[in-house]
């Protein structure tokens, strides 16, 4: 993993200030959605070899949830955006 993550609020910070929540591509279904929709959300992951989007939280900084787009093979970080700005 890259040593630095560029937080949109705090600037370039060491990645140890952040924690990983997981895959940002799955969207939480409505409460009354089907069992299959919930199964897909809770358990199933694309797990791409290459470009991926993940939720990271800047726990030792602004505490915002961020979407980090990066490569799972080279560990290059392409972009970091605020989790609420989609």
């Amino acid at each position: 993993m890259a040593s630095f993550i560029s937080c949109p609020h705090c600037g370039i910070r060491p990645k140890e200030e952040f924690t990983v929540r997981g895959d940002a591509s799955v969207i939480r279904p409505e409460p009354d959605a089907s069992d299959e929709a919930w199964h897909n959300y809770v358990h199933i992951r694309a797990n791409p070899r290459g470009r991926t989007r993940e939720h990271w939280q800047h726990v030792f900084g602004c505490r915002r949830f961020l979407v980090v787009e990066r490569d799972t093979v080279t560990h290059e970080v392409y972009s970091v955006t605020d989790g609420g700005s989609r």
Partner: protein, 437 residues
Amino acid sequence: MTFAPACRYANVRENHGTVKGMRYSAFALVKQALQGNRGWTPAWREPQPKPHYDVIIVGGGGHGLATAYYLAKEFGVKNIAVLEKGYLGSGNVGRNTTIVRSNYLLPGNEPFYEFSLKLWEGLGQDLNYNVMLSQRGIINLFHSDADRDAHIRRGNAMWMEGVPAELLDRETLKKMMPFLNFDHARFPIMGGLLQKRAGTARHDAVAWGFARGADRHGVDLIQHCEVTGIRRENGVVVGVETSRGFIGCGKLGLAAAGNTSVVGQMAGLKLPIESHVLQAFVTEGLKPCIDHVITYGAGHFYISQSDKGGLVFGAEIDGYSSYAQRGGLATVEHVMEEGVTMIPGLSRVRVLRSWAGVMDMSMDGSPIISRTDIDNLYLNCGWCYGGFKATPASGFCFAHLIAKGETHPAARFLRLDRFERGYPIDEHGAGPQPNLH
């Protein structure tokens, strides 16, 4: 739920077909020595792929090779190939900390791992290859009253499956391993749970032993042959596209570990797997000082001493999904800190090497040995960072499933559909969060 003792499954020893090639023995050693060691033959062939096999296993690591070996030896399947994109044993079977144990809590796991340990205990003889199993015992330390109660519960759960476990108090431990940090202010060591039959094995020898055993039973081990696609006709798997052309098959078994999602995607499988990176370390060689496998209860740290004298240790995964077989320095620092907290004397030891492997982390932290919704396609994955100890039983149960079309009793809870049916096997109680298992 009721379970038969796991030892019931371990007494199958039928021999199908003829075994080819040289048999290793003291006699062979002397004979070869007298002939100037010019008569040794390669441990396995390097065959060209045939156009069609009855069974193809994708992945020439410990689990894939073990599957092929048991398919040929125990279940009488002929015409088998193992396809490996690199060289045999180039993945996690050569990257682990070599620990073998069966001290699990949950009834879905414990019989399976005990079956595995039973197979380990006879593996060297069975394979005619020394896997250097050393049953030196594993000790899980605990650090609080609640922690002790949890370990008592685990020990009792093991006894209920017929697996011996012993609770050691602090004074006993002090005599056994005086180098531990017993009086740490925050994590004092109150005792430990001992499984005497646990220990270590020579990891590369396991891969080589299964490879040689499979080859002797006629399995084609095809290295440097990357699977690039899975061909289906009318929904049924009929073969694989590879870097060395199309190879047809009757049944296809995937044992691709960290690359499970990549291979599974070729057949449109959507899997409860995330790939994560786990690091491990070895120090310079020391005189014998750590006699057991020891795990820290206040972290995820585990350590043992190799036969060469190096201290072999590791701890948590890095925490972010990754396919790179290398980890980050922050985790290196964290592992070292954990180690020195548990054994202060480690601070004076120099680390020789570190390495990393890609773990197929499942959503409940437990493995999957299962058929899939696609006919002729079978799946073996989700080993998280516990795959090495499972190698023999994983191969045996996967071979049983592929050959007979039925789940082996020891692996009957390790089905892929347990997630959607609501029966996860969450050994750590961490929930569906792969980087927490």
